[in-house]
Amino acid sequence: MDRVLRQPGEHPDRTMELTRRMFLHKSLLAGAAAGVASAGWFPWLNTLDLAFGAEAFKFVWVSDSHLYPKTLNTRFVDKVTRAMKEVQAMSPPADFLIYGGDLAQLGDPVELDLGAEILKEVTIKKVFIPGEHDWYLDMGMKWEKLFGNSSWTFDHKGVRFIGLDTVSRGPDYWTAKKMTPKERMGHMATLDGSVAGSWAGVGRDQLLWLSTTLSNWPKNRPVVIFSHNPLYEYYPPWNFWVRDWREVHEVLKPFTNVTNIHGHTHQVLYNEIGKMRSIGMLATSWTWPYAPEGVPTLTKCKVRVDPGDPFDGVGWSKLTVSAAEKLENDYVMWRKDILGETPWDSGCADNANQILSPRLADREWPYYGAYK
């Protein structure tokens, strides 16, 4: 589908460069032997022209921590805690942190409170957008109480930042089926479940708000949109996409410098549609395999991940707006090289021979109910 939309002459500002640089990451953890035991490689930077006369600044993206209560599992707690320590140790500090959704695994208030407590480690400004895992137990009540409105905008040093809520406008699939809140949440938490249908969307009201919000913004000034789900069609069977993404693009079409930064897919992704570019971020919890079809052709895939190593294939992102008015995205992955150098090392190569089938269990009522 993106091939249809990627018309000749329509592309993001070509001042953007994709570069491949290798440099040693010195651990940000206080007390760690710099560049030795905890060192990793950051071999890829997305460098793109972001701002006009902007001051240099940094911001960070962390998302998809999928916290369970500590009594059940601390592996995800350990990782988001590590990310927070690293963010807090940044010197000079980042201007703000965007948490990109899916802080909780099953929307449990215990999980959300735990996440809020861990995030307190970071004292810089924090902004939040929700993920579906945060939302569908109580339809966002607890999340909004902790983190405020699910969509918002602010201007920072020449850039307009917009937080978009792509999760709360899911069609009501639960009332007719008389599902309990836990059942509803359980189905939203199943990536390959089909009971919830195509739940990711922006919705008419938010599209209107987006349009109004941008009406006073010059068309050539940078806009950065944070969304949990990617704003393009990527493998609907796993609900990676936002079902009204075409309408989102219609609203953004007049703007020449739009960057979408998204979570949800737990993958390294890069895409361009029209004048907008999208960057997919790592999760701190676990990594998902690339879908059998629809991986954007511009993506340089990350390496295959060792599932026995909980720190492999996961991490966060450090984004720097440099004095040269470029934005650099460093994938802070805690293990190995981040990109596959050869087909057999690439996570995309695993797609080559996969022909996958949607679940049977969802189609037959007596069998539905995984994640009770």
Binding site: W288, P289, N353, L356, R359
Partner: protein
Amino acid sequence: MKRLRKMRTILGASLCLLLVVASGQNPAFAHKAKHTPEQLKAFEQAFLEQVKVGDLLFHGDGDTQKRLDVTLSNTGMACAMCHPFASDTHPYTFPKFQEQVSKFATLRDMINWCIEKAAEGEKIEDDSEAMKALETYIYWSTRGSKLEPGTH
């Protein structure tokens, strides 16, 4: 001469049949019978029942684990969290040398490796109902992929 050879053949075949019947063994004529549509439906149903059980196990269903007396995870993780639609399980590449276990491994070896290492669950028996159901779901969900044993 020709007649004598023919008589010997008939005598030999009769003797064999007599021995098989006398030993009480089924002469395996069942495979020669044509399958009825009802039989084929029953075979398919038996297969799909296993797919459904495997699907539920793969997606972490507690009731099914309890019924089969298995604990596939102690962390709340489920197989499908890393392998939606059983993606990246690559059953068609087994058996092969598997780096994680440092040996030539079957799909069942790898299922147990994932249960123990990635999900922190309890290893299941190779011939258990749970193993057969998991294997059935994984094969079913990736059917159509090209069989390439020994590859990665």
